[in-house]
């Protein structure tokens, strides 16, 4: 990835943030769009992190929502249990994010150790199962807090927590968490997007990132030049899961209630669609695809019952168009007519290592 490409990504993201902030202060942003801002940020972090696994490492993961779920629930539990000890929101929010990221990262590590040693599509199968397992575990999990600390109970009900007088139930089994104080703001979300971009883009353009991409391109050759396959696969996968965990915390702290059912297989696939549509290994594409596909259903509200039908059709058309050589050529010719050819010619000589 060329240097000016990186600045383009950071520049556009920062510009988008400033424009939206200006529009909001001018009152030009509808409330439905305003409600979408934090989820968009969370999904961008999800897509960027999944791109690290699928596009950069070249391993298919079908359970990214599972890591998001772990991050969401552990992050919110951390946030709620720190409420009295640490009233200021910013440090509490940051600690919650770190807790969410840490738990998701550990989960990624535990899954990665056995699975990433194998060659083939095993990661897809295992992560698919992992997503479902996490959903079911959290559905049966009861967590409460009182003056003695955190109480955990599994497969029972909230009475089994034996909370003292004045204790509160945080995770209430299938009902999830209720009464969350909304800490996530668009600015926090934007900051997390920048941090995720910083980590992923810098990782890709470093010694470790090169090793990860080498594994994707040719594992046998990578081994022959002394690159430790399991180590770098784990590095990419754990970083990816930890970022998904942070995204989960951000996402959960934007709602007053959150249930495990929210982070199901459909969510995993949705994030995978963002990544595939944006282009494997293309971080910039992931951001655009996520933004468009999260806003699109809102824009299609006027179609009422046919909303998801139109959404699917638009998705298919976009996929066809972006993979159609004739369409691309027509588009390029059109661009050539508008922009002087000299500017474009200079771009063609360069190579892009990551797309």
């Amino acid at each position: 990835m060329k240097k000016n490409n990186i600045f383009l990504i950071y520049g556009t993201v920062i510009a988008a943030y400033i424009i939206i902030q200006l529009l909001m202060s001018a009152g030009a942003v509808t409330s439905s769009l305003r409600g979408q801002l934090v989820p968009i940020c969370a999904y961008i972090v999800m897509a960027v992190s999944l791109n690290l696994t699928v596009g950069v490492l070249g391993e298919l993961s079908l359970g990214h929502a599972g890591f998001m779920s772990i991050g969401a629930f552990t992050g919110v539990v951390a946030c709620m249990s720190l409420e009295s000890a640490l009233p200021p929101t910013l440090p509490r929010f940051v600690i919650s994010l770190l807790v969410g990221a840490a738990f998701a990262g550990v989960a990624g590590f535990l899954i990665g150790i056995p699975v990433l040693r194998l060659n083939g599509d095993y990661l897809a199968i295992v992560t698919l199962a992992f997503g479902e397992i996490i959903k079911n575990i959290i559905n049966c999990l009861y967590v409460g807090i009182d003056s003695r600390g955190l109480h955990l109970s599994f497969l029972t009900n909230s009475d089994a927590l034996n909370l003292e007088e004045g204790g509160t139930v945080i995770i209430n089994g299938p009902m999830g968490i209720a009464g969350i104080t909304k800490l996530s703001t668009f600015t926090f979300g934007f900051a997390l997007v920048l941090v995720a971009l910083f980590i992923v883009l810098n990782l890709i353009r470093s010694r470790a990132g090169r090793a990860i991409m080498a594994l994707r391109d040719n594992r046998i050759a990578a081994e022959s030049i002394g690159i430790n396959v399991t180590k770098y696969k784990l590095m990419a996968f754990v970083t990816s899961s930890a970022l998904a965990g942070a995204a989960g915390t951000l996402f959960a702290l934007n709602y007053s209630t959150i249930t495990a059912a929210k982070f199901n297989f459909n969510t995993s696939i949705l994030v995978l669609v963002f990544v595939v549509l944006g282009g494997l290994g293309n971080i910039w594409g992931s951001i655009i695809a996520t933004t468009v596909l999260v806003i699109l259903p809102e824009l299609l509200r006027e179609f009422n019952d046919y909303r998801m039908l139109v959404y699917a059709i638009v998705l298919i058309l976009v996929m066809l168009a972006t993979n159609n050589a004739t369409f691309k050529n027509t588009l390029r010719e059109l661009v050539n007519k508008i922009i002087p050819e000299k500017l474009i010619k200079r771009k063609e000589g360069t190579t892009d290592g990551n797309s």
Binding site: I199, N202, S206, A208, A211, M213, A214, S224, V229
Partner: protein, 283 residues
């Protein structure tokens, strides 16, 4: 065809049945295979394979198609675990090493069907070869600490230096997969050299090259040996190349060694001629 002067080398026996060039005899062979063998199910792919390679020798491994030459390479690099026998690298048994550890211990290789990191730039391919020479951690890279800039600068300089052996600096920013075939073969050799090996295994380095490219390659192989003072073992079907630069040659047929010796000894060996051309019909 312009071929480099073939060095006049006398081969001498080392303890065991192996031979290495006389100038290397006071040091232990860089690699010695003893009674090496591997079976795939019931098929004996390689058997009773004995070979020694001197510290600065250019050795050749030849034989008809399917003789087991690449299998020997895969045994040396521990892609396959041998069924019998042992391999000593610099006097150390590599029995319990993995492919990665064998590379770190000093064996680098190229592949018969080119295996580059096609989506990465030429420079990045070489930098990956330097992966274990110049080291910094993941977070140093992410946070762009001073160690990152220092190491990356060093890597860039080393990579360019290595690319200059084959006069390939101008390709540095090209995508490796987009290079012409001959350049891809050369890049694979550069990447292998970047891992700082003491033994370089080349699997058909001249495959698909035209005669002038092959002549160039021959010069370069000798140059690499002389510059880096390393041993090179190559598999090749181009007899001009093998007879031109190899000092010791080992001929393999049906997984067994049928002849060992200098190029002239091999050329006149009746068993070798039979393996390549078949038996003369009687009467």
């Amino acid at each position: 065809m312009a071929t480099p002067e073939r060095p006049d080398v006398k081969l001498v026996p080392v303890p065991s049945t192996n031979i290495i060039p006389e100038r290397d005899v006071d040091k232990e062979p860089i690699l010695e295979a003893r009674n090496l063998g591997i079976d795939f199910g019931g098929l004996v792919a390689v058997d009773k394979f004995d070979m020694a390679i001197g510290r600065t020798e250019i050795a050749g491994l030849i034989g008809p198609n399917g003789a087991g030459k690449t299998t020997v390479f895969n045994l040396f690099t521990k892609v396959y675990q041998p069924t019998r026998g042992s391999i000593l690298l610099d006097g150390r048994d590599i029995q319990n090493m993995t492919t990665v550890q064998v590379n770190r211990a000093g064996i680098a290789r190229t592949f018969q069907n080119i295996r580059l990191f096609g989506n990465l730039s030429v420079e990045d391919n070489v930098k990956l070869g330097l992966h274990n020479q110049i080291n910094y951690g993941m977070w140093t890279g992410i946070l762009r600490l001073p160690g990152y800039w220092k190491s990356e600068k060093l890597m860039h300089e080393r990579a360019m230096e290595l690319l200059s052996i084959f006069d390939m600096q101008r390709y540095a920013s090209h995508r490796a997969g987009s290079l012409p075939y001959g350049a891809q073969r050369r890049l694979e050799i550069v990447r292998a050299l970047a891992t700082n090996p003491s033994l370089l295994l080349l699997d058909e380095p001249a495959a698909g090259m035209n005669p002038s490219e092959t002549a160039e390659l021959m010069k370069n192989i000798v140059k690499v040996r002389d510059t880096f003072k390393i041993a090179i073992l190559l598999i090749e079907h181009d007899m001009n190349l093998v007879m031109g630069i190899c000092e010791g040659i080992c001929v393999l047929n049906f997984g067994k060694i049928i002849a060992k010796g200098t190029p002239s000894q091999i050329q006149n060996n009746p068993e070798v001629i039979e393996a390549y051309l078949g038996k003369k019909k009687e009467g």
